[in-house]
């Protein structure tokens, strides 16, 4: 019964999704033989529970697009590269989670972990804008996104806790003289801007 299910789903949907993801991520996902060496070393395994890198690959191979594009591992993956270093078939699941995040964004899906999404977007946006990452500027942009989404949900408790924990952290850095008051900028931002426009996907 189980086997038949597996054979049944390896139809057009499965072929299409695996080919798309294998191509974009440049990973030979079809050679995964479910040995789970990746799972054994994944640091977020305890947080994602059922969903380990091998199961994510399986999900893609079976063509479950909806699940594959928006699940806990895609958003929790730390890009620690442990799975890919250990995989006997050279599959870097970190590349797959990155591809899936990009696809989810292109399809305008609501991200499962909005804060993670906000952070990476704020990072790239502000770094492209100034040509360099400014820690204060990045955190301000990130906080603005997070607080705005709290406000929309009317989650004032989360709002308070975000503000207080970030303020505390900022103050402790300041006390140690590790908070930088100046702004660092690169003239290369123009070249970067042109490169970003060429690729065009990031700004969504």
């Amino acid at each position: 019964m189980q086997e038949q299910t597996a054979f049944q789903v390896s139809g057009d949907a499965a072929r299409e999704l695996s080919a798309e993801i294998a191509g974009r991520s440049e990973q030979p996902i079809a050679s995964c033989y479910q040995c789970r060496r990746c799972a054994a070393g994944c640091p977020v395994g305890e947080a994602t529970g059922y969903l380990t890198p091998d199961r994510l690959i399986r999900m893609v191979l079976l063509g479950d697009r909806k699940m594959a594009l928006n699940n806990d591992l895609v958003w929790r993956c730390l890009s620690c590269y442990t799975c890919g270093t250990r995989c006997p078939n050279g599959i870097h699941t970190s590349r797959v989670t990155e591809t899936l995040k990009q696809m989810a964004r292109e399809e305008r899906l609501e991200p499962l972990h909005p804060k993670t999404d906000s952070f990476h977007r704020s990072f790239v946006k502000t770094s492209l804008f100034w040509g360099r990452m400014n820690e204060v500027g990045l955190m301000a942009a990130y906080q603005a996104r997070v607080l705005w989404s709290c406000l929309k949900r009317r989650d004032f408790r989360e709002m308070r806790s975000e503000i207080s924990s970030q303020t505390r952290f900022g103050l402790s850095l300041f006390r140690l003289g590790r908070l930088h008051p100046g702004w660092t900028v690169s003239r290369g931002r123009r070249e970067l801007g042109r490169l970003a426009a060429k690729s065009g996907r990031h700004s969504r």
Binding site: R24, E46, T82, R178, E191, S199
Partner: protein, 298 residues
């Protein structure tokens, strides 16, 4: 050796001690560092989560600047910047079309020949050639270090030439021992600290850091030694948080390898910004001095 030096954004801000220490230590070992002109952000671990092209394009511009200035080797202290620059160079060399597309927008073209190194490489070479040992003016006796590599120094999302071992690296240990310190064999030296997840997924990150800390402590370490500015910040700044979750009262200073090598080379406490840590390393340094005195007396 004359290196093209890429500090990266963090080293100009919260991790500025690593920038200063790297310059001082490498100068003391007879190397020259020239900061590359008008460098930009490498995109860190965020760019690849949004866009495969930008992941390569952002570090590419820096490679182009370093190459057109005529350097053969680029030195990058920050592990994330180092990793991303290596990845960009490798991907462009594998894919000439990608390289060309990026080059068409750059004032300084990428050839893709420059060697990209972390500062662990010159430090390790100095240790191996015994030059470091000869220049040591203050042995690191009493330092029992858990050398913590994290992710980005030894693991990459594609095949690269790596001098150290990916799963059980040993460059930091070799450097410390050449400077008279003791290092430990331990389990979590390449385990992930959570990196930027401390900002957006704190519970998960605290669990990971607790695991790293507990292993280092159980093996008898009196400090954690790292090179990555994110690992250093996380393990240091969040130590109260993850230790209180685990009910641990001991604290361990989290030092950059350049701090310890700097001390061994005779640089001063303030000169190395050792007073800028969340967990104060002063008790460890007193222990060092005490050991040195007993050794001198015997």
């Amino acid at each position: 050796m004359e290196y093209a030096y890429y500090p990266g954004c963090t080293l100009k801000q919260s991790a500025f001690p690593l920038d200063r220490q790297s310059r001082k230590v490498l100068r003391a070992l007879g190397h020259g560092l020239t900061e590359i002109r008008d460098w930009n952000c490498c995109g860190a671990t965020s760019a690849s989560k949004l866009d495969d092209f930008l992941e390569v394009a952002m570090p590419a511009r820096n490679i182009g600047i370093a190459e057109s200035a005529g350097f053969e080797e680029m030195l990058i202290p920050c592990s994330a910047c180092y990793s991303k620059t290596v990845v960009a160079k490798t991907r462009m060399n594998r894919d000439p079309r990608l390289k060309q597309e990026i080059n068409s927008e750059l004032a300084h073209q990428v050839r893709g020949e420059i060697r990209v190194s972390s500062i662990l490489e010159p430090l390790f070479d100095a240790a191996r050639s015994r030059e470091l040992g000869q220049r040591v003016s203050r042995q690191l006796s009493g330092v029992v270090a858990a050398c913590y590599y994290g992710c980005m120094l030894t693991r990459f999302p594609l095949d690269v030439d790596l001098r150290d071992d990916a799963e059980n690296p040993g460059f930091m240990e070799a450097v410390l021992e050449a400077a008279g310190g003791t290092s430990l064999d331990w389990q979590e030296k390449t385990f992930c600290c959570g990196a930027s997840a401390t900002v957006y997924d704190r519970e998960t990150a605290l669990d990971l850091m607790g695991r790293i800390f507990s292993d280092a402590l159980a093996r008898g370490a009196n400090c954690l030694v790292t090179l990555c500015p994110v690992c250093q910040m996380n393990m240091d700044a969040y130590q109260e948080a993850y230790c209180s979750r685990l009910g641990r009262s001991r604290r361990l200073p989290v030092l950059f390898i350049t701090e310890l090598v700097g001390l061994a080379l005779g640089l001063g406490y303030k000169e190395l910004y050792l007073d800028r840590h969340f967990v104060d390393p002063a008790p460890l340094l007193r222990e060092m001095e005490r050991q040195q005195e007993t050794e001198a007396a015997s």
